[in-house]
């Protein structure tokens, strides 16, 4: 007895260690996986000039500062006093735009304007949110950088006039002034949702997409389970060849059946309606789903069917009373695939929908991105908007198809 206990204990420990290792692995992988998405979200908040900075920027906040060219070079280790107003003259008007004027020349100044000389570091976004600082006395907004011999920034301070800071041999002290903080641009999302010049906003697209998606999921679940049941639980002539034919319909690239299918739908008068997107899903729902459901049906022992038949069930009842509940995870999988497919489908709406009031999100996104050309920040914002519902549905819906579906006890 004692031996068996020890055996169990050590096994528990190994299990625990293995468990921990797997946990670390899972999270490491997740972090790697999520990095591209983080870049996407971060970019969606950026002002245009921050998008492709080198090295890449992760936090969509940057500052625009004016660095005073005059510098104080430390001759030896010790302290340096910061005083204001060293250097020449350059007009800086701060009202959403910074004007930098040539070194030599005349410049008009207005009463009360402060002047300072320096180099602008950082970029004011041409549109978007900034917080602008107005005064240029040396105070807590003053940026003081200490650079080492190789001109690398060692430390940055913000201290008022009259303070002292420590420096080493050969360090350089640059005094500057923060002009503005470029904040995360929430405006990108507003712009993505309601692009100017368009008749509709993403509201309309959202509605359309939800409609198509819900109907699509319904069609797919109903018909694929129905048909898969036929393939899985019945014997009839040509069953296997028919199954093969079904699968083979997936092997033809859509580019080539697209146009004949378009012609077909035109003949039916379904162009510029949602019919081509929805109705076919009720007729089998696609080889992928039928195949998947069939595989799952086949994992259930046939004895259940037999038992039900003996109890007097007909085929329908076996289908929806016995089998369907047992394949709930599969059904949920079909549902989510259907959801994602319809949600992201771009090609079918492109061809079949003409009026932009009928557009779905994916198509709206695509049209939108070509309207704004290379405004990648807006594109990322729009992509995030389209991605968000999927994220929410998946995160909260997980329990319905992944966690704990009671499986039946058959033997013993």
């Amino acid at each position: 007895m004692a031996e068996k206990l020890t055996f169990w204990q050590s096994k528990k420990r190994t299990n625990k260690i293995v468990g921990w290792v797997l946990y670390v692995v899972a999270w490491s992988g997740a972090i790697i996986f999520v990095i591209p998405l983080i870049w996407m979200i971060s970019t969606s908040f950026k002002a245009p000039d921050q998008i492709f900075t080198i090295p890449p920027k992760w936090i969509p906040i940057s500052s625009v500062s004016l660095e005073y060219d005059t510098q104080i070079k430390a001759k030896k280790t010790g302290t340096v006093n910061i005083t204001k107003g060293e250097g020449g003259i350059k007009v800086v008007r701060i009202k959403g735009a910074v004007h930098v004027v040539p070194e030599v020349g005349k410049v008009k100044v207005y009463k009360g304007e402060k002047v300072s000389r320096g180099t602008v570091v950082g970029t004011m976004p041409s549109q978007g949110k900034v917080r602008i600082y107005e005064n240029d006395d040396i105070d807590s907004n003053t940026l003081i950088k200490v650079l080492d011999k190789k001109k690398r920034v060692i430390k940055e301070y913000r201290v008022p006039s009259g303070s002292s800071i420590k420096v080493k041999d050969g360090d350089t002290v640059k005094v500057g002034q923060k002009l503005a903080t470029v904040l995360p641009q929430w405006k990108n999302y507003v712009k993505a949702w309601a692009p100017e010049a368009l008749d509709e906003t993403f509201n309309r697209y959202l509605f359309n997409t939800i409609f198509v998606t819900v109907m699509g999921i319904l069609g797919v679940i109903l018909s694929s389970t129905f048909v898969a049941y036929g393939f899985a639980r019945f014997r009839f002539p040509f069953r296997d060849p028919l199954f093969l034919i079904m699968i083979s319909t997936m092997m033809i690239p859509v580019q080539v059946t697209m146009i004949p299918t378009f012609i077909l739908f035109k003949y039916l008068g379904w162009i510029d309606t949602f019919a081509p997107l929805i109705i076919p899903t009720f007729f089998g729902g696609g080889a992928f789903n039928i195949f998947l459901m069939r595989q799952f049906f086949m994992t259930i022992p046939y004895e259940l069917d037999d038992a039900a038949k003996i109890d007097g069930c007909n085929y329908f009842q076996i289908f929806y009373i016995i089998l369907l509940p047992l394949v709930k995870p599969a059904i949920a999988t079909v549902a989510i695939f259907g959801f994602v497919y319809n949600w992201n489908d771009f090609l079918n709406p492109l061809i079949y929908l003409n009026s932009s009031s009928n557009y779905t999100l994916a198509l709206g996104l695509q049209t939108f991105t070509t309207m704004y050309g290379t405004d990648y920040n807006l594109m990322m914002a729009a992509s995030t908007i389209v991605l968000l519902p999927i994220l929410i549905v998946f995160f909260f819906g997980q329990r319905y198809f992944i966690e704990g579906v009671a499986t039946s006890g058959l033997k013993g």
Partner: protein, 425 residues
């Protein structure tokens, strides 16, 4: 057997496509398909509203994504007999429709038109949209790709004088070198010059080279001549010998399609493209910029490819008179004036291009160069196969030149005979 299959196909396609509604419109409505960016959409909507008010005819304006999806959709609709009434085309996708008989000849309508006449437009763009004797597209704008945008701040900092219109290729190299900056690791952080996409045609045309023997009726590809080889090699040298232009790997590096971003984020001093970048660049605040014409070739010649767009009426449209009227609203004087003000495009009507609507005081200051540029505008060969030649034969081979793996001479001498053999024999 053959006959049977043909009949079967014909029957199935006809049965599917032949009956049912004709192309979109009826007497009371028109279908108009187009692409555009924000500024263009605003103008189009305004003009359509005016048209609807004036005629009582409803217009279903279908905005499609630009680029390849546009052609996919249009071709699908044509194939399915569901083409729109009025179609927005530009010089490059025009060639796919040009000789197929699917567009309506506009000459009769233009002749009867009172508000403007053919000679109001730049003859080059009219010519481009004409096949044989028929004009198929009423031009809205012409876009000679001759515009070199430059960043004044970078020039100032490098102590270089701004280029003037009579600068040459050598000047380009010299200036480009002065503007190129490296970091401590030797990586280039700022380039001197970049083109929006490999605009090798500009180099070829500026060197007196030609692509085919006759643009309208090409019978031979002539890109293996010395003028062309030298020009293509010159562009490759800008990348690898003089290092003033990024290579394709450095290009995909900069975020993929980012030549425009490079200019806007000051990672390149000069940017070569067409005038349509103006609205985007007007949003730049951290530096001043202006434009100069693409430099003269070594022989003092000038030449560049050109873009342009306009409106066409499809041949199956049931109400062509009304469609023509819509086209006049879109491409007529008023539409062109509004377009000019956005700076996006150079109006195809000469008067408006020369007027203050286009030549206003908004940047770029020297935008009048495009008026001059029209003189030297060339177009791509007018053949529906050109796309195939370009994508399947030229582009992959040119990749090897731009990546420095091979020389222009080797590649062109190899690929031009192949092109001639496969497409022109």
């Amino acid at each position: 057997m053959k006959k049977f299959l043909l009949v079967l196909l014909a029957v199935s396609l006809l049965a599917l496509g032949g009956c049912g509604e004709k192309a979109g419109g009826s007497a009371k409505s028109l279908r108009f398909m187009y692409w555009g960016d924000v500024a263009e959409i605003k103008i189009i909507k305004a003009q359509i509203a005016k048209f609807e008010k004036a005629t009582g005819v409803k217009v279903s304006a279908e905005r499609a994504p630009s680029g390849p999806p546009y052609m996919e959709k249009v071709l699908t609709q044509f194939a399915g007999g569901a083409a729109p009434d009025v179609l927005f085309v530009e010089v490059n996708n025009f060639k796919q429709f040009a000789q197929k008989g699917v567009l309506e000849n506009l000459n009769p309508y233009l002749a009867k038109e009172t508000k403007f006449k053919k000679s109001d437009f730049y003859s080059r763009i009219i010519d481009r949209f004409t096949v044989g004797k028929n004009l198929y597209v009423l031009p809205r704008d012409i876009a000679p790709i001759c515009v070199v945008y430059y960043n004044k701040k970078i020039f100032d900092a490098a102590g270089v004088r701004y280029p003037t219109d009579d600068w040459s290729w050598n000047d380009l190299i010299k200036i480009g070198k002065k503007l190129t900056k490296k970091d401590e690791k030797g990586r280039i952080t700022r380039f001197g010059f970049v083109d929006d996409w490999p605009i090798w045609e500009a180099f070829v045309f500026s060197n007196g080279g030609r692509i085919v023997d006759n643009t309208k009726n090409p019978t031979r590809c002539v890109m293996d001549r010395k003028a062309v080889i030298d020009a293509v090699q010159y562009r490759a040298d800008l990348i690898h010998k003089h290092r003033v232009m990024p290579s394709p790997s450095q290009m995909t590096a900069m975020g993929g399609m980012g030549t425009q971003d490079m200019f806007m984020s000051e990672r390149v001093g000069m940017f070569f493209s067409g005038i349509w970048k103006t609205p985007s660049f007007r949003k730049i605040t951290n530096f001043k910029w202006d434009v100069v014409m693409f430099p003269k070739g070594p022989k003092g010649e000038r030449g560049f490819p050109s873009g342009g767009s306009g409106y066409a009426i499809t041949s199956k449209c049931p109400n062509k008179e009304m469609a023509w009227k819509l086209v006049t609203y879109l491409a007529g004087e008023e539409g062109q004036k509004k377009l000019a003000q956005t700076g996006l495009a150079q109006p195809a009507m000469k008067n408006i291009a020369k007027s203050k609507y286009f030549l206003d005081d908004k940047p770029p200051k020297h935008k009048d160069i495009v008026l001059d540029g029209v003189k030297y505008a060339h177009f791509m060969p007018l053949m529906s196969n050109w796309e195939e030649i370009n994508v399947s034969m030229l582009a992959p081979e040119f990749d090897k030149i731009w990546s420095g793996k091979s020389s222009a001479k080797t590649i062109l001498k190899k690929v031009v005979p192949e092109i001639n053999e496969n497409f022109f024999e």
